[in-house]
Amino acid sequence: MGIKLKALTKSPWVYHLSTGSCNNCDIEILDCLTPRYDLERFGIVLVGSPRHADALLVTGNMTMKCIPRAKEVYEQMPKPGVVIAIGTCALGHGVFDGSYVMPKTVDEVIPVDIYIPGCPPKPEGIIAGVAKLLAMLKQKA
């Protein structure tokens, strides 16, 4: 497992999974890839399929219709992989707490490695969170 984890820290490819978010966090994730923040400098690339991904970026509330699909996407991701929950909705339900379509939070459906709070978190916040995760993985490996 050690070498696999070490490889993961070099150039993590990320897949973005929105499970009923309001788009705010999704925009900020895309924003991280554009010139001002430019995460591609560090080899972080947004990919079009979970099968190519090392990390899942989960945003949103996990609505009922999304639960089976989110599970499927998680299973398609090669392991070891990490799951990053971004935004207040993905942490708990935030302002939507008590809604009839959200029986579960994200971490009750798929295992989450790191939480980044904020509504939406600023790109700096997302980058700081990912950097902390990479440091953690390096220690483990």
Binding site: S18, T19, G20, S21, N23, N24, L30, G48, K65, M102
Partner: protein, 395 residues
Amino acid sequence: MSEIIPIGPYHPLQEEPEFFRLHVEGERVIKMDIEIGYNHRGIEKLAESKSWDQVVFLVERICGICSTSHPAASINAMEDLGGIEAPERAQYIRTIVCELERIHSHLLWLGLAGHFIGYNTVWMWVWKYREIICDILDKMTGNRQSYAMFKVGGVRRDILDEDIPWFLKMLDKFKPALDLFKGAVMDDPVIHARTKGVGVLTTEQAKKYCVVGPTARPSGVAIDVRKDDPYFAYEWLDWDMVVLQEGDVFAKVACRILEMYESMKILEQCFKKMKPGIVDLHVKELPPGEGIGRAEAPRGEVYHYVRSDGSNFPVRYKVRAPSYMNIFSNEVAVLGEQVADAALILAAVDPCYCCTERIIAIDHDTNEEKKLSSSDLLRLSHEKTIRVKKELGIS
């Protein structure tokens, strides 16, 4: 022989999940089904358990991109219910936030549209200059998105007079960028070849499908809530509605770019005309009754209805968002077009499902489902751009 191409529900084209089923014959699209609902969050029901102040925060999170249009319609509805007239300075501040949001939303869309046709340079440039607008919003409201500026009877934060020169300086910095985008899009032969005459929505179809905003205006339908039913400070300002006739993807791009120029005009006038004064009436309660509120979001008309029994909570809250009408116009716009163009046409209405998706293809003869992921669709679109470039003799 026809095939079905499923798009969605998770697909990198859109940030949100929705699902399209394209029925194709060879390269041509003959029919399309749409399935939405991945992002249903029960907001109308939730609103009934929130107090009047909290409702504004809740509707702000209907959509992160239109995070000012929904509160705008919401406070319009509540002020209609209470017969409240917000102070003049508050109206100007509201207008400023609305127009900044319109510019940021149109830029966001322009960048993604560039990405769809394989021009990642356009995407990166546009998003680079979008940061200027985000910075202005950050300084003005305290957040890059979800500004939480509006409340019944006013705004939560005043704009400081000493900040205004900085805002104007940043807007001046943004102007050359806007000219750059206009030149880059309007003069590029490849963009012309990829978007002109593609995904045409005629005036009759636009009226039949009740489309709104920058999906209707490029098809020759002159509707804009800011002109038809002025709210905030729009009636005191001098600006024009952008109406084009062609109805194709190019017209939709052009309409959005020209609208950004109008927004700049509005912003400059607002900063000039704004006078010192109070910004909040401190409304304590709302009477029983009904209210409706409309606002022009970057994507079209937002409509909110609210009913009150005089308590702290709404009894009924109803929202109609613009994409709900616009998405279904894809049904006609996409017919007879190539699969390579489908992604672009679907994106051209700037749909906002607040969820993500992919595409599926079904073979009508064999009834076999062929899965094309969104990356396949992007690849098809990018390949077509390369083909078009070769035909035009541009390398």
